[in-house]
């Protein structure tokens, strides 16, 4: 689910990270209490479309988000249809899908640096639990921006294995991938320390 930031100047971009989280949180909450019926599903889908039908987001972005979560979508839909029937199944799936995609607007329209500051503020009550809010926020932000590297490492490990005639075994893949990921995390930790992070 790579909902990465895209620069823009639409209404979502202009909201501060804090307000935006609150607004999106309320919308998601609203969507999740809509009754599980055909008209409820239509309403939810409408809200979702409306959220994206503004400058800075757009239908292209909505489609990309949808593609990113297609497997979750498929599995949820199959399970729901099987056990709950068509109406409830479709409505629930639309609801879950809308919740994920609407939350995705936050990452899509907020620069990570801004998200970082908002997270730091949002997590500051955790200080009482001996969690360092700056560190926690940073971990989340860095994880977000390191995803592309992990995706590349994954491809490199696969290619290295294919080049040596390796098959498609998950176990054979998992161990080297874990090793390169941990190595990467270790080096990243060094770089963060060197750049002034405690």
């Amino acid at each position: 689910m790579l909902t990465l930031y895209r620069p823009g100047d639409g209404p979502w971009h202009r909201l501060t990270a804090g307000r935006k989280s609150a607004v999106l949180g309320l919308i998601v909450l609203g969507v999740s209490v809509v009754p599980a019926s055909w008209w409820g599903a239509a309403l939810t889908a409408g809200v979702c479309l409306a959220c994206y039908a503004v400058r800075g987001a757009g239908m292209g972005a909505l489609v990309r988000q949808g593609i990113a979560i297609r497997w979750i979508l498929a599995v949820t839909l199959a399970g729901q249809l099987l056990f709950l029937g068509a109406e409830t199944g479709v409505a629930n799936t639309v609801r879950i899908c809308a919740a994920v995609v609407i939350s995705g607007l936050l990452a899509l329209t907020t620069p990570v640096s801004e998200l970082l500051e908002a997270l730091e503020r949002g997590l500051s009550p955790l200080a009482r639990l001996r969690v360092d809010p700056q560190r926690a926020a940073l971990t989340i932000a860095v994880t977000l921006s390191t995803l592309p590297v992990l995706v590349r490492l994954e491809r490199e490990v696969r290619e290295a294995q294919n080049a040596r005639g390796g098959g498609r075994s998950l176990r054979l893949f998992a161990i080297p991938f874990l090793v390169v990921s941990l190595k990467h995390a270790d080096a990243l930790g060094d770089a963060l320390t060197a750049r002034g992070v405690r």
Partner: protein
């Protein structure tokens, strides 16, 4: 005046004695660190950069003791590594450069000003809003350098900064490292032409410093060792 004084320093990593009896005093503006793979060059660089701890011995970097003034030192030292991917932490170029100034107590406008200047200096202005991980390898390393220099460090430590680059990009990166400025440079490298460009060179062998002096003499000592 020397900015790096080590007296009988030992470094142990896990069960391995990686550096032993390291004694040196460096006062030249640019110093190359050369030696075979596994000789301890990176550990030496990490030690000076405050990323590795000494087990024993006395250390003074820029006149400060890293055991006592770690955070003050960190603010004055920048470290550049070989792999740019491990140094880039923010999704866009401009955010990544700005990240380096996060913990500096400066007014917002001044931070923004410094970031703009640094991007300009490293030729990254045109890609400021691009995704950092979509840059070419050469541009990524320039971004890593930019993130290091934007903090205006007194000492720049670079551990094989050109190892992943083609000749042209290696040259650009080296030119920035050697640029006239307030900073001193400690450069770990296997590229002898880069070592030649330094004012002085240190040879590390088997965990200890075996030669310090003008680059020509140190390189000759290195080649001598490689022959036997």
């Amino acid at each position: 005046m020397s900015y790096l004084d080590l007296d009988d320093v030992h470094v142990r990593l896990g069960d391995t004695q990686v550096l032993r009896n390291v004694t040196c005093s460096l006062d030249q503006r640019t110093v190359a660190v050369i030696g075979e793979n596994g000789s301890g060059k990176s550990t030496f660089a990490r030690l000076v950069g405050g990323l590795a701890r000494a087990e024993s011995g006395a250390i003074r970097i820029l006149g400060l003791d890293p055991a006592q003034d770690a955070s003050r030192l960190r603010r004055r030292i920048a470290v550049v590594f070989s792999n740019p991917d491990t140094q880039i932490v923010m999704p866009t170029v401009i955010e990544d450069v700005a990240f380096s100034l996060r913990s500096e107590k400066l007014p917002r406008e001044e931070k923004a000003q410094r970031v703009t200047e640094a991007l300009e200096r490293f030729g990254l202005t045109a890609v400021a809003d691009h995704a950092s991980h979509d840059l070419s390898g050469g541009q990524k390393q320039l971004l890593a350098l930019c993130g290091a220099f934007v903090r205006r460090p007194d000492l720049v430590i670079a551990d094989e900064p050109t190892a992943y680059l083609d000749a042209r990009n290696a040259r650009r990166v080296a030119d920035h490292l050697f640029e006239e400025g307030a900073h001193r440079l400690l450069l770990v490298t296997h590229d002898m032409t880069l070592a030649q460009r330094c004012d002085s060179a240190v040879l590390v062998h088997d965990g200890t410093i075996v030669a310090v002096g003008p680059p020509d003499a140190t390189i000759a000592a290195y080649e001598e060792r490689l022959r036997c």
